[in-house]
Structure formats: C-alpha cells, structure tokens
C-alpha cells in the first residue's frame, strides 16, 4: 500500500442557477498517492475542472459543495476555516491553469508575481525571496532569468507564460500540483516541452500531480492512474496500462476508438452517437445510457455503481455487474 496523500469522498458540487440545479460533480470519489500522477480525463461538462476547484476551495456562488469529504494530511479541507485553507492553497496544494494568457496580472513584472507566492507563505526576506523567484525561473528553463525578472507578462510567449505559471505554482514546493489542461492552449512542440518540464519537476520535488485533460495522448504519456469522467460521474478508474490495454466502460472504449490515429488511416472513423447532454438535462439513470451502443433495459432505469472488476480497475456500468 502506498502513502495516501489526498482522498476525495463522495464529493458533490452543484450550481444553483435559476430554478434548476446543475450537478456538475455528482458523487465523485478518488484518491491520490504520494509521488503519483493521477489523470482526470473527460469532455466538456464532465466535471473535471469543478472537481479540481473544489479541492482548491475555489467554488464560488452559485456553486456550492453540497456534500462530501476531501481529506488531506489528516484533515477534511471542507471543514476547514478559510484562514487555514489559505495556508494550504498555493502552498501545499497549488494549481496551474489552462490559460497562460489571462492567468497572470498584465501590470506586474513576472518575477514579482512569483515572489508574491513565496512572501505569502514563507517568512523569507525581500532579497531571499527575489533570489528564490529567480532560481525558480531558472528551474523552469526561462533563459536570462535575472534580466527577465522585471519583464511584464506581455513580453512572454504563451509557452513562456505557462512556465512562469508553473514556477509560481511550485514556489513553495507543494505536495500536490493540480494541472488543469496545462497545455491545451499551446502548440504541439511547446506542449511537449511543458509536459517534459512538469515530469522533471514532479520527480525533482517528490510531488504528486493531478493532471486534468481531455487528451488521451497526454494521459498515456504522463499518468500512473486515470479516472474517466462523464457528466459529473466517474465512469472508470484504472492504472494507465490497464486502461489502454483493456478499457471496460463503453464510453472509454468509444472515446479511444473515435480518435483518428496518426499511424494508420481508416475509411470511416468510429463515433459515439449523439451529443454530450446539457448539464441541466443529464439522463436520470446511467448518464451514458442514451448514447451507449450496449445499453440494456436496466441502464435507463437504474444508476450503476462504481464496481471494482479487477484490482485497481473500477467501472460504473451494468455490463460488469
């Protein structure tokens, strides 16, 4: 048994909009071990980003964490006063967002923005924190870090800004780094550089990582374990090798089949029929039942549970009951 670092239990995050309730995250349970990379994959509306924001304690009204527990270092983050949560957020658990273009303050030099994270969470002096910030910029491979410390974000390219974001997130050597689509806005060659940087930093700092993405290629190359989400629920959970060797849930199988291959050309692509339902119109029972090619009668009448079919491999599907 590995060292368990984070445990999310039956998390429900709902958004109360108008008359309706949007169940963005609806009973999600997962855990993260030390030094592990857990990938959360899913399409838009699957609740992957809302799960991450819930861990960070960044859900704002009309959103609300309705129930569940998030255990970190023996404490439930959801019971914690905001004052304590601030000591964890950006310090022990930090996050890198998708949009490097909008996540930085355009009017503050990048070095100062990195330094801010250090000053807030440590008692380092001005000089020491500046040196730390410069060292961090060097660590994430920003050339001429000392000179560029004073530059505004506008002078950096998208890839470089994402490096700054990573430096900022790593400023306090966090235990957990949550990377929410860290390379989606970047070009392929830059994406490869950033993912490599994340892998090296994770190893160097003995971190755990939650990697949120929609790209199964990134999952295959970076994750140890994967959870597949669809419409606010975990559909499948497995070690990355198991998931790619033997995907079980019809949604996972369909997703993998519908990606065009770079090596071979097929006459016709497989495609999952229908569309992702709007969050206010999720099917009442199995949420994939209206698009599933293997749906049976029971699928549209009863919600399946997440069942362990093999060690470490869990599926939420009536086919495996």
């Amino acid at each position: 048994m590995m060292d368990r670092l984070l445990e999310v239990k039956d998390l429900k995050t709902y958004f109360m909009i108008g008359k309706g309730t949007i169940k963005a995250v609806d009973g999600v349970t997962f855990s993260l071990d030390r030094n592990e990379t857990l990938a959360i994959v899913g399409e838009s509306g699957s609740g992957k980003s809302v799960s991450a924001l819930s861990i960070m304690g960044l859900i704002k009204p009309p959103g609300k964490i309705v129930s569940g527990e998030i255990w970190f270092n023996g404490r439930n983050l959801l019971d914690m006063p905001e004052k304590d949560m601030r000591k964890i957020r950006g310090n022990r658990i930090s996050m890198v967002y998708q949009e490097p273009m909008t996540s930085l303050n355009p009017a503050i030099p990048v070095g100062e923005q990195i330094r801010e994270a250090i000053v807030i969470h440590t008692s380092a002096s001005k000089m020491a924190s500046k040196e730390r910030a410069i060292q961090l910029m060097k660590d994430v491979n920003i050339p001429e870090a000392r000179i560029r410390y004073k530059d505004l974000p506008g002078k950096f390219s998208g890839g470089m800004r994402q490096r700054i974001m990573i430096a900022m997130a790593l400023a306090c050597y966090p235990d957990i780094l949550i990377a929410d689509e860290p390379t989606t806005a970047l070009d392929v060659t830059i994406q490869a550089q950033i993912m490599k940087l994340l892998r090296t930093m994770k190893k160097g700092l003995n971190m755990s990582m939650i990697l949120i993405t929609h790209d199964l290629g990134i999952v295959a190359e970076n994750a140890d374990r994967v959870i597949v989400m669809y419409c606010g629920k975990v559909m499948e959970e497995a070690k990355v090798e198991d998931l790619f060797r033997n995907p079980k849930h019809p949604y996972t199988v369909g997703l993998m089949k519908s990606i065009p291959s770079i090596d071979t050309k097929v006459a016709k692509l497989y495609s999952i029929p229908g569309y992702i339902p709007h969050p206010s119109q999720f099917p009442r029972r199995c949420r994939f039942s209206n698009r599933c090619s293997k749906a049976k009668d029971i699928c549209s009448s009863k919600q399946p549970d997440l069942i362990e079919v093999k060690e470490g491999h869990k599926v939420r599907c009536w086919l495996y009951m």
Binding site: Q191, E221, K268, Y270
Partner: protein, 330 residues
C-alpha cells in the same frame, strides 16, 4: 483531374509599424506559398500557431488582399476580376470556421441562416427556400423540425453541422475548413469528420483542411502541406509525409505529438526553442535556430521547395543535391 484552386507564389505582409514612421515593420504571415487543389480532393495544411495557415484561407476567400501572388479558381485569377464577377464566384468558395459558437448570428433562426446564402446567390426560387433548408439540414444530420430554432438551442457539434449546411448551401466547388473540429470534444469531433467525408463523396467538393492536430490531418487529407513561419517546408501525399517525413521540422512535429500508448518512450527527443517572430524571421532557413542538422549554409541561404521524389517536395538544404554537387565541384 480538374484543378480547382491554384495558388502561385502567394505573399501577405501585414504592416504593423505606427502611422507615419519611417522604418516600416511587417509581419510576414505568408511568404511565397504555392500549391494546387484538385477536384474532390482534400489538401491538409498543418502547422503551429502563427505559421500563416489561416491567413492563406482568408486570402483564398478574398477576405484580405494578397501583397503579391495569384490565386486562380478554375483558371480565373480572383484578384484581377471585377467586383461583380468576384461576387458571382464567391458562391464556389465557402468556409467553415473553428468556433461554431461565434460563427452563427444568435438573432437569426436556423432557417434564416440557411436561407440567406440561397437568396444572395439565387440558388433556388424563393418559394423553395424552406424545402431546400430541410434538405440541407437532413444532409448534415439535423432534424428538419429544428429549422425554426435559434443557434443557442444547439450544442457545439450541432452548431458546427449547421455551419457546414450553410457552407454547402451555395453548392460550392471548394470549402475551406479552418480548424473545424478543434473546438469540439473528441466524441463529437469524429462525427463531424465523418460528415465532412460523406459530403465530399456526395457533392464532389474539394477541401482545404487547415488544422494543427496531426492525427486529424492524416485522417482527412489526400495530400498534406506542412507550414513553418509563412512557408511550406514540406508537401506530398499523406502517405509520403506520414510514412517518410523528411524535413527536420516535420520529423520534430511528429515526435512532439503525444502517442496513445502508455508503453511508448516518454523521453524521446523533443524540439527545443520557440517559433521565432514572423516580423524578424531568422536569416536563411527560418527553421535553422531550432534545427539540430543545421549547417553553415542554413543561416545564410534560403532553401526553396524542390521535388525529391514523385510528388514529395521539401524545402531544406539537407536535400539540396544541386548545392552539394556544387560544393564537390568547387
């Protein structure tokens, strides 16, 4: 096969210097690009952001005027014909954009959106509009009952289907697909790719398919052109490019794409550096600062696109047979 589109030495510079300044700076968005597209064929245009792939689309559509170079539609130069003539041939060239959320007027019903091109280009009689709209909707897999709905009532994938219906409404010979699936989820992406493929077979239309994702380009294209900083660096049939990429940039691009395989070598070599500024592109070959094979000549002389084998063309000094022989001779 009929040549539908012919692009010859197309150049587009955008001036970015402040007004009245003496030293003028230009973004060299497209810098001497030539290609042909034949009837019923798909040419895939792949490259990273800022390489000029979308500008080429806009130039062919006539949304911006080229700095120099020529574009022919079935042999007619679209830059030198009168406005009236241009209006007429516009119906032969249509476009599908990346973002189906901003490409449809939120205040118009689907029927209005699809009737507009029909009336502008007088495709069918007015009393046949609703019949034609129904036919178009069914062609792209949307229920004709939804014709009176507004765009916001549809999901992203459905909206992209409507955009496609609008593009085929004028019965074009040629459609520019500018990143048509990159804003869509994976499970919807394959539906749209299949739809575009079916329509091509049914309507015998040619596509210029602009995308940055290599697997999508492989799936849709008959031929592929790889662009870097405003220039085509390699071009050939899909098999030639994917089975035997020759240009160091193409090779690096393929190596950067994540593989759907957890057992693959994760620490393979990746391309270092970033795309240089298109305002001051590097001297000589614009890829040489990032190229591990770069030699002296690469930073001095611009390579040009030359045929290597069959239809496989490449712009790289490594394959400069003539220059090598010259060196040997001198």
């Amino acid at each position: 096969m009929n040549k539908i589109i012919e692009v010859k030495d197309l150049v587009k510079y955008f001036e970015i210097s402040p007004a009245h300044s003496i030293n003028k700076n230009y973004v060299k968005a497209v810098d001497g690009v030539s290609f042909d597209i034949f009837e019923g064929e798909t040419l895939g245009l792949v490259g990273e952001s800022g390489c000029g792939k979308s500008t080429i689309g806009r130039l062919i559509l006539g949304l911006t005027k080229p700095t120099s170079g020529e574009i022919f539609l079935e042999g007619r130069n679209i830059n030198s014909i009168s406005k009236k003539e241009l209006r007429k041939i516009r119906k032969d060239i249509q476009v599908v954009f990346q973002n189906p959320y901003s490409a449809l007027d939120p205040k118009m019903t689907i029927e209005d959106i699809l009737s507009e091109p029909l009336s502008i280009h007088k495709i069918v009689y007015k009393y046949d509009y609703s019949k034609e709209v129904k036919r178009l909707l069914e062609l792209v897999g949307i229920s004709s009952k939804d014709a009176k709905k507004f765009p916001h009532e549809f999901s992203g994938g459905q909206r992209q289907r409507i955009c496609i219906a609008r593009a085929i409404a004028t019965r074009p010979k040629f459609i520019i697909c500018d990143e048509p699936v990159s804003a869509l989820d994976v499970s919807v992406q394959s539906q749209i790719l299949n739809l575009l493929d079916d329509l091509q077979k049914e309507l015998n239309v040619s596509y210029l398919f602009i995308a940055h994702s290599l697997n999508v380009i492989r799936h849709v294209s008959n031929r592929v052109a790889v662009m870097y900083l405003g220039k085509i660096v390699e071009m050939g049939t899909t098999e030639e490019i994917y089975n035997n990429p020759l240009h160091p940039y193409t090779k690096a691009l393929f190596l950067s794409a994540p593989v759907l395989n957890p057992w693959s070598n994760k620490d393979r070599e990746i391309l270092s550096g970033e795309i240089p500024s298109p305002i001051f592109p590097p001297k000589g070959c614009s890829f040489h600062p990032r190229c591990k094979y770069a030699t002296g000549i690469c930073s001095e002389k611009k390579p040009f696109l030359q045929t290597i084998d069959g239809s496989h063309k490449i712009s790289c000094h490594l394959y400069d047979i003539s220059d090598k022989t010259k060196e040997v001779l001198t």
